[in-house]
Amino acid sequence: MNDTTESLTMAAGALPPWLSFFTLPSINVRLVLAGCILLGLCAGVLGCFTFLRKRALLGDALSHAALPGVCTAFLLTGTKDPLIILAGAAVSCWLGAISVDLITRYTRCKEDSALGMVLSVYFAVGIMLLTSIQHSGNAAQSGLDKFLLGKAPSMLDRDVWTLSILSVIILGAVTLAYKEFKIISFDPGFALTVGLPVRLLEIVLATLIVMAVVVGIQAVGVVLMSAMLVTPAAAARYWTDRLGIMAILAGLFGALSGAAGAYISYLGPGMPTGPWMVIAVTSLFAISLLFAPLRGFVPRFNRVRRTRKKTAQENILRTLYVLGEKEDRLDAPCSETELLKYRPMRAGAFHATLAQLVRRGLITESPAGCFALTTQGAEKGAQLTRLHRLWELYLATKLDLAPDHVHDDAEEIEHIITPELEARLTAALANPGEDPHARRIPESHAAAQMGGQS
C-alpha cells in the first residue's frame, strides 16, 4: 500500500489543482472522494427517518458514543485495522443506543435528557481512553485521534472497501424495508396494530444508523457526524412533500457535500475534509431554506409581493371604474389628487402602480396628468366591481350583516374570487342586479361575452 505516500495535492500534469481534481489524478484522491460520497449518501438517506421521527439528536449521541469503542478496540488488539476499529465503534454505539432506550424506559427522564447524558458520558470516557493511549508511548497509536474530527485524507483502500460494504447493506436495507420504516416514522402505534414487528424494526433502524455513524467517523469524525445525518434531510424536506423523493434528495445532498468536502480539501493542505463537508451541507440547507419553490423564503416573499402588486393595480382600476360610474362615463379622466383621495397609498407605490397599469394598456395618461380607463381597463374594473358587490350582497343576505359592515370584507375578497367561486356566488344569490347599497352589479364579463356570441 505505497499509494499512501502519494501526496494529496500533487498536481496531475500541468493542470492547476482546481481542475486536476476532476481527472482523479491519484488513487488517494479517488479513495477520499469515494469514501466521502458514500458517507454523505448513507447518512442523508437514513437521516430522513431520524429527522421525521424527531430523533435528530440520536445521531449526535450515537456518533459520540463511538469513541470509547474505537479506543477500546485499539487497546485490546493494538492494531488500527479498519475492520477491528469499526467493529469496536459499532459495539459502543450500540451500547449507547441501548443506554438511551433503558434510561427513557425506566426513569422519569425524557428522551432528550437521556440523549444528552449518553452523548457526554460516552464522549468523556472516549477522551479519557484516548488521552491515556496517547501517553502510553505506543508508536502505533498515532492517528487514533483522527477519529475525533475525521481522517478522510489518509483513508486507505481497505477503509473504503469496508465503507462500500456497509453502504450497500444500509442502502439495501432501506430499499427493502422502505414501507416499514415509513409507517413506523409516521404512526408507530398503528403499525403495531396491523401486526408489524415495530420493536424489531426500530432496532434494525437504530443498527443501520450505528452503521452509518461507523461509516462516517472515518471521514468526518465523531464530533461532526450528526450534521451529516440531520442537515441533508432537513434541506430535502424543503423541496418535496413525498418521502421517497425526500430520501433520494437527502442522499444526493449528502453525496454532493461529501464530494465538495473532498474537493476543497484537495485544493489546499490546510483544508480539513470533514468540517468542509459540514459547511457544504449547511450551505445546501441555506439554499433550500431560501430558494425551495414551495417552502423557500424567497419564492414565498415573491408570491406575497406579486399579490400585493396585483391588489394595488386592481384597487386603482376599481377606483377609476367607480368614479366613472358616478359620472356615467367610464373613461372619465381623473387626476392623481382625486385618485389618492379615494384610494390613499404611499406615493412611491402609487406612481409605480400607475406606470404598470399604463404599460399593461389598462389606463391612459393624458398630457395634463390625468388618468382614464381604456376599454380593456373598464372591463377589468367592471369585473372587480361585480365581485366586490356580489360579496357584499352575499354577506348582507346570507350572513345577515348590516350593509355598512360589508365593504371592508369585500375590499379584500374581490381580489381572490375565482371564476368558479363567482359562478357559485351568482347561483346562490340568483343572479342579482343590485348590491346592498342599491348600486348596480355589473354583468359578468364572461356571461356578457357569451351573450354577445349567441
Binding site: 427493502l176 414501507k179 409516521f186 402505534g189 396494530t193 396491523v194 408489524l196 413525498r242
Partner: protein, 263 residues
C-alpha cells in the same frame, strides 16, 4: 382463566382488565363482551379511561392484569381482525406523504414483511377514500387537509383493512355536522355487513340516535348494554355525577408505593 369456545365467540371479550400508568390504575377490573354486528358507544367523563380501554384492547398499553380476547384468541394472534382509528392528534400531519398513501398503510397488515402494495391494494385504498368522500384529495399532502378531512383519511385507512371489528377513538372530534352524518351512515353500512364498531364518543345527545349499545365508563365499568335499557338517567348520574374519591385516592397510594401486587 376459562373462556370456553362452546358459545358463539364474542368479537371482543375483556376479562378483569386493569391498566395502570406509573403503577396508578386508570381503569379498574373491566369485564365486558362486545356483541357482534352492533354499533357501540363508549362514553364517560374526561380521564375516565375510554381511550385507554381501546388502546388496551389493541395491545398498545401494557395490562396490569386481565386479558383481552378477539374472537376467542389473544390479540397478538388476531391483530389483522381489528382495525384501529387513533385520535387525530396522535400523529404529525406534516409528514411528507399523501392521503392515499396513508390509506394504503391500512393494507400493510395484509402484505408480507417487505412486500410492496399491489394494484389491488391501491384499488382498495382508492375505494376506501371514495367511501369517506375524499377521492378528490387522494394526492394532497396530508398537512393541507382540514381537521375533518384528516379524520376521514384515518377512517378510510381503517376501512382499507377490510376487517370485522373497528375500534375508533373519537372519530367525530373536529368534524362538521354533515361529515358526522356521513360517517354515521358509513358505520351503519359496516354494521349491516356484520361488523362490530366500537366508538369512543363525547356527545351524549346523539348516543340513542347513532348507537345500538352503550358502555358507560368512569375508571371502572358502570354499565354496558342496549341503549334503551342502559342509557338511563341513573346510570348517567353514576358515570358523571360525583367523584370517585376513594378509588382515586387508592390509585394515588398505589402510585406512591411503586409496586402492585398484580405484577
Amino acid at each position: 382463566m376459562t373462556l370456553t369456545s362452546s358459545a358463539p365467540v364474542a368479537p371482543i371479550e375483556v376479562h378483569d382488565l386493569t391498566v395502570a400508568y406509573h403503577h396508578r390504575p386508570v381503569l379498574w377490573d373491566v369485564d365486558a363482551a362486545f356483541p357482534e354486528s352492533k354499533l357501540i358507544a363508549v362514553v364517560g367523563p374526561n380521564g375516565a379511561g375510554k381511550s385507554t380501554l381501546i388502546k388496551a384492547i389493541m395491545g398498545l398499553v401494557p395490562l396490569a392484569s386481565g386479558e383481552v380476547r378477539v374472537f376467542g384468541k389473544p390479540v397478538n394472534e388476531t391483530r389483522r381482525l381489528v382495525a384501529y382509528v387513533p385520535q387525530r392528534e396522535s400523529v404529525d400531519w406534516d409528514f411528507p406523504t399523501t392521503a392515499l398513501d396513508v390509506v394504503l398503510m391500512g393494507r400493510y397488515g395484509h402484505l408480507s414483511l417487505f412486500g410492496r402494495p399491489r394494484k389491488r391494494d391501491r384499488e382498495i385504498a382508492r375505494q376506501s377514500l371514495e367511501k369517506v368522500g375524499m377521492q378528490d384529495f387522494a394526492h394532497r399532502q396530508i398537512s393541507q387537509l382540514s381537521g375533518g378531512q384528516q379524520q376521514r383519511v384515518f377512517l378510510a385507512r381503517a376501512l382499507a383493512q377490510q376487517t370485522r371489528v373497528y375500534l375508533m377513538d373519537e372519530p367525530f372530534a373536529g368534524v362538521d355536522a354533515a361529515t358526522e352524518k356521513a360517517i354515521v351512515a358509513l358505520l351503519q353500512e359496516l354494521r349491516a355487513e356484520g361488523c362490530t364498531v366500537v366508538v369512543v364518543h363525547h356527545d351524549l345527545q346523539s348516543v340513542p340516535e347513532y348507537f345500538d349499545s352503550v358502555m358507560l365508563l368512569n375508571l371502572r365499568l358502570v354499565a354496558f348494554g342496549d341503549v334503551e335499557s342502559t342509557f338511563t338517567p341513573e346510570n348517567l348520574h353514576k358515570t358523571y355525577g360525583g367523584r370517585l374519591n376513594l378509588l382515586t385516592e387508592v390509585g394515588e397510594k398505589l402510585r406512591r408505593q411503586e409496586w402492585n401486587a398484580r405484577q
